[in-house]
Amino acid sequence: MSEPLLVITGLAKSFGGVRAIDGVDLTVEPGEVHAVIGPNGAGKTTLISQLSGLLAPDDGTIRFAGRDITRLAAHRRAPAGLARSFQITSLLTGMTVLDNVALAVQARQGHSFRFWRPAAGDRGLRDPALAALEQVGIAGRADIIVGALSHGERRQLEIAMALASRPRLLLLDEPMAGMGPEESARMIDILKGLKGTAAMLLVEHDMDAVFALADRISVLVYGKVIASGLPADIRANDAVRRAYLGEE
């Protein structure tokens, strides 16, 4: 059997004595949606930050597409096929929706030490950018400044920017954060539509979204994976219920 797309082994990260991530093992198969759930402070965002290279792990290894990327610089990860979205919307403010996505397209087209040709009319940037916006349903908003977008649209743009990198694995950090029920439902549809385009590591609080999308679920509590399995197994797992779902 070939190696999974993403293999995390013994990952650890402490912040001044607090073990935010404490020996996490996790895999994502090609094309799979693997959801990571867990209460606040379980270490989910820390996990995503280490995968995207913004935080250096204290210990453990991250292998992606057969290659050790534990120490790979953050800016080399998206070109390598590992793109992320942010829990707290992180866009290029003051620029247009299209510019935001076009820059993500530009990033995967080699270096940008190109000083002469205007970027604006460049179809090599514009067409793929519009296609990514189309995939998340906001192509009609391409020419407006991101500041004028609604919260839900900004969340969609988050996804479009990650998609424009043509990733093999999408790291989605709470894509439903701050959304109302209708917006969440739309986002679930968008993400469903992306299944098969890329594998996803989905960190999410919204259980409807998790059970609608995930092929596999891991439960993270105090930096440790306490359970991992198919959605039905996780739903039935007593330890998970006590620690997290905590009801019924």
């Binding site: 800016h75 510019d99 820059l103 530009q106 940008s112 190109r114 040709r117 205007p118």
Partner: protein, 326 residues
Amino acid sequence: MSPAPATSTFSRLRAAGPGNLGGVVVLALLLVLPLAAWWTGQKFYLDFATRITILAIVATSLNFILGYGGLISFGHAAFVGIGAYCVGIPAYYDLASGFVHIPLAIAASALFALVTGAISLRTRGVYFIMITMAFAQMAYYLFLSLDEYGGNDGLTIYSRSVLPPFNLEQRPQLFLLAYVSLVVVLALKHRFVNSRFGMVLRGARANETRMIAIGFNTYAYRLAAYVIAGAIAGYGGALLGNFTNFITPDMMSWTRSGDLMFMVILGGAGSLFGPVMGAVAILLLEEYLARLTVYWQLPFGLLLIATVLYQRGGLNGLIERLGGRK
């Protein structure tokens, strides 16, 4: 959905808005008025316009990193000083060729930018401001200590760069060289900020974390921009040295860097012609306020405060607003 023309940030900038029209008018007046004055025997105005033009070149280079890159460099005057000494020191050894002076000025200031930028750009925010200022002050004290080249007393340049076809001893020709340089620098900046490189520079200003996440080594792009800006400022310095015929380490002092920042902010950071307007406005004000009162710096300070509080886009933004663009 119609295949709408590209109206991203950049093409919008490219379309001639009132700010750009205003800029073209200012640029035209900057050419016509001094030459007319020269013709009618008012030689002072030509010199005045030459100084404005050279400082507009330098302010434009600062705007490239400050306005578009969001890099608040407080040491830009160092490049100007280095460029000027690259004329002064060879001239001191009777090496008069402008074809030596100018490449030397560009190379030396670019190298200074490369070394100091490589270190400074590892910092952010207020630390970046302080460290760029610190490096400039180091250059200032270095030249202050070089007694051979006049130290604190400055260095007189007895003959200007020999730069055929220009004869820089002829004031109108020096002015024309500066003016053509300004136009070329503006055109270059316009291309650069609208190119892929410029997009990355602006993106990194808007949100550096995101730019890294989508795959840009923002540090490398910023460093390249910093070196380009330094090189252009150094070129401006070589012109300034030729213009003043007398250079001192004072050209590099942090107050000069502050003046340049003021030009960019008053004129409109991140706009094509803003720094030109800023240079014109500040030098005019300085000239005429200083005639009226010895306390001319007070209204200056108030003007800066008013700009930052009420007119963020500076003069360029004001024209845009009056022209109904915003």
